[in-house]
Symmetry: C2
Subunit: 446 residues, 2 copies
């Protein structure tokens, strides 16, 4: 972000210097304009939109985040939108349509030529997060029997359809994918050979319903810059390009990150106040509900606390350490699951290793806690022993929950990152309070 | 991961059926072999390595994770390594060398031809996480005065150097980057035109010292499949391809994720026990140290607790809610910082918005807590009011820390994700305990 640019834009919009603004925009890449627009307030953004021409809007729309896009789609009337949409690519329009109410969607489609509608509709039929949902139809497919020189002739007409991906897809007469031909081989091939003779027949392709993360992972693993999407009959439907895969990978890791800390949706510091409250409130309220559990454990041991008030000092320690260990284990397990690193073959070995790690960590921290209690809090050996043992048990408990619950969630088909729910964190707290106060009751109270 | 394959491999290795194993490996992509090797134990992996030929090892090495790579580099003797290395690409060797001790590095280099050494050394001079550190020298650069047909002739000889990236880089006689030529335009161009006439002169390029995340972000933003790396004089040094950028993006988001939960390095469920303990222990021990703060607040209010033991029940609630809210705010701010969304221009607006969000969230949760205390814990209105107010103040405090500290860290040049240190979480706990017990002292104790 060039801040001087943003400052200038703020100023020019306030002064309503339309010509200056448009001059400024023409020197920018659409992605830059989109970025600037994210930093404007609704009012400024709408003013900007009102002076931009439809070509420019068509270029900028695909680069905007969903939040802003929805606002813009509400603001642009259907007439203006139907001028914008024909200038966009089919896959971009399909993405856009998902943000529109059904009524507007059909009005909008009625303004488009029939073959565009067909292309858009075939793209819209796939779930948003599937290979079909992220593929593009901007690729070149040629029949396997075509000669090299003829292929080059055809390319001349379709050059605009060929993105920077260096592949041509080779199909048979029923559009079944037969091979992939790197452009460089087309350049180097003898002109009377056919595409079929030169193509690679070992093709990695994905089903349109394949999950987007799996597709991106596959492309990353095999260092692919594009992967074809084919249906059950082997017919070529589209391709997923690396720039899309990049977006997906980051989005999915980010989803883990946000879910782990109890945010349902991605949120930035610019998310409108009420959306942010709505996004965060459920987790906090749920948390308030689940803390009933840990609070009740404390209530049960009220009489112990009355007699050994020193134990209250250690309650914050047990809670904080348990929470930290639990989050660490959860993070490691959730990422390993996301990356597909955990297989049924390994489960036992994983359990055993995490158990040993927790036992070791717990012993070291327990000893440290024992020493801390004696030297800094100057409590007796009895209380210090309770503290040390509680820490040890708490760390083992936290690790087991941190490992077991996301695995269970995965098994049940729930996003394992959601295992970091307040519920689990409270269970971990409960283990801590129970061992601290339980051991305290046993060892300190006659 | 195909689990049947892993099972079979385990079996075959145990039975030492070398031929079967090699037969199995030849049908697999090197990336798949690498994945299988990650799931083997050290013993099995070394056996496998001992029967693989050097070509295969050279293909597999670049796909392995650092953990495993280090182990393998220790196991392979320098003679075997020096057979493997010449079969790898320069950028892969440069990455590999970083994992070797200095002595081995020079021994290894001495086995290579002079021009490879020069290429590898020029690649090794850049920091690991810079554009120079992730670029490849496998690209094709041709002079701007070259005619199209001559260029195609040259390509024939260098075809192996041309990855699937569909660009040719056009340079002048001192190797300064002058333009980029999409392969498709080369195919379609008239044969007597020069590259200079056909090339794009609007090139986006990066400095070799540019941070890898910034490079990847740039490629994602402008949908690039490759970006050239040029030095201060404009000389072309290499290119960064999208598959590398994909790796980087995921790695950096993951780094945020792991740092936020106090893991110094990425860890998987397969990380060896001692490494995992070492990775997690510092945070936990630091946490043990910082909890002294919150424990001492409880100690200060010991007499209040003796007189109003009911307040102990609410300590777990205040701690858990504060921790949750703090982590949510931290996550949002850290990601916004990582994505470069926050500019100095916005800071005031961001502060104000987060403050309003926290105020609203706090009020709603405070009221819920008040009701919970009265109905479920059946305490008096006085205690319930203390609980409600403490929750409200705690949420505002947690949000302010969650916002302010990562911004401060960023300003100081420290990774903002590390702001999720136990220190901050404990500060948040402290706000909670202080308001709960402080208000309790004021309102409940005469």
């Amino acid at each position: 972000m060039r801040e001087d640019l943003l400052r200038r834009l703020h100023r020019e919009i306030e002064a309503k210097h339309c010509e200056n603004i448009l001059h400024m925009l023409t020197s920018l890449h659409p992605a830059d304009i989109a970025e600037l627009m994210e930093h404007l307030d609704t009012h400024e953004r709408r003013f900007l939109l009102s002076i931009m021409d439809t070509d420019l809007i068509a270029d900028v729309l695909p680069h905007l985040s969903d939040d802003i896009l929805v606002d813009i789609l509400h603001y642009l009337d259907i007439e203006r939108l139907s001028e914008v949409v024909p200038k966009m690519e089919a896959d971009q329009v399909a993405d856009l349509l998902q943000e529109l109410p059904k009524v507007d969607r059909s009005t909008l489609l009625s303004h488009l030529p029939l073959d565009s509608i067909r292309e858009i509709e075939s793209l819209s039929q796939y779930p948003e997060h599937s290979a079909g949902g992220i593929m593009t139809t901007e690729y070149i497919a040629l029949p396997y029997w075509m000669k090299i020189d003829e292929a080059i002739q055809t390319l001349r007409q379709k050059a605009s359809k060929l993105r920077d991906v260096g592949y041509i897809y080779v199909v048979d007469d029923t559009n079944r994918l037969r091979g992939v031909l790197p452009l460089k081989r087309l350049i180097l091939g003898e002109s009377n050979k056919t595409l079929g003779e030169l193509m690679d027949t070992e093709i990695l392709a994905v089903d349109p319903l394949e999950d987007q993360e799996a597709v991106a992972k596959l492309m990353q693993k095999y260092d692919l810059l594009a992967i074809p999407v084919v249906n059950k009959d082997g017919k070529l439907l589209g391709i997923v390009t690396a720039d899309k895969a990049m977006e997906v990978l980051e989005q999915e890791t980010e989803e883990d990150l946000f879910h782990l800390t109890g945010l349902e949706k991605e949120e930035s510091v610019f998310t409108p106040t009420l959306s942010a409250v709505r996004n965060r409130l459920p987790w906090i309220l749920f948390s308030l509900l689940t803390t009933l559990l840990s609070s009740n454990i404390v209530r049960i041991f009220r009489h112990t606390l009355e007699k050994a008030i020193a134990l209250t000092m250690f309650m914050p320690i047990v809670a904080a350490i348990g929470g930290n260990v639990g989050m660490q284990t959860l993070t490691v397990v959730v990422r390993s699951l996301s990356l597909g690193e955990i297989t049924a073959v390994d489960i036992l070995a994983i359990f055993w290793r995490q158990f040993v790690i927790a036992g070791l960590l717990g012993a070291l921290v327990g000893i440290a806690g024992f020493i801390e209690a004696i030297i800094i809090f100057q409590v007796g050996v009895n209380v210090a022993t309770v503290v040390g043992l509680a820490l040890w048990a708490n760390i083992i408990g936290a690790s087991i929950f941190g490992l077991f619950v996301p695995l269970l969630f995965k098994k049940l088909g729930i996003d394992p990152a959601l295992a970091a729910s307040p519920f689990i964190l409270i269970l971990i707290d409960c283990v801590g309070y129970t061992t601290l106060l339980g051991l305290g009751t046993l060892m300190l109270i006659k």
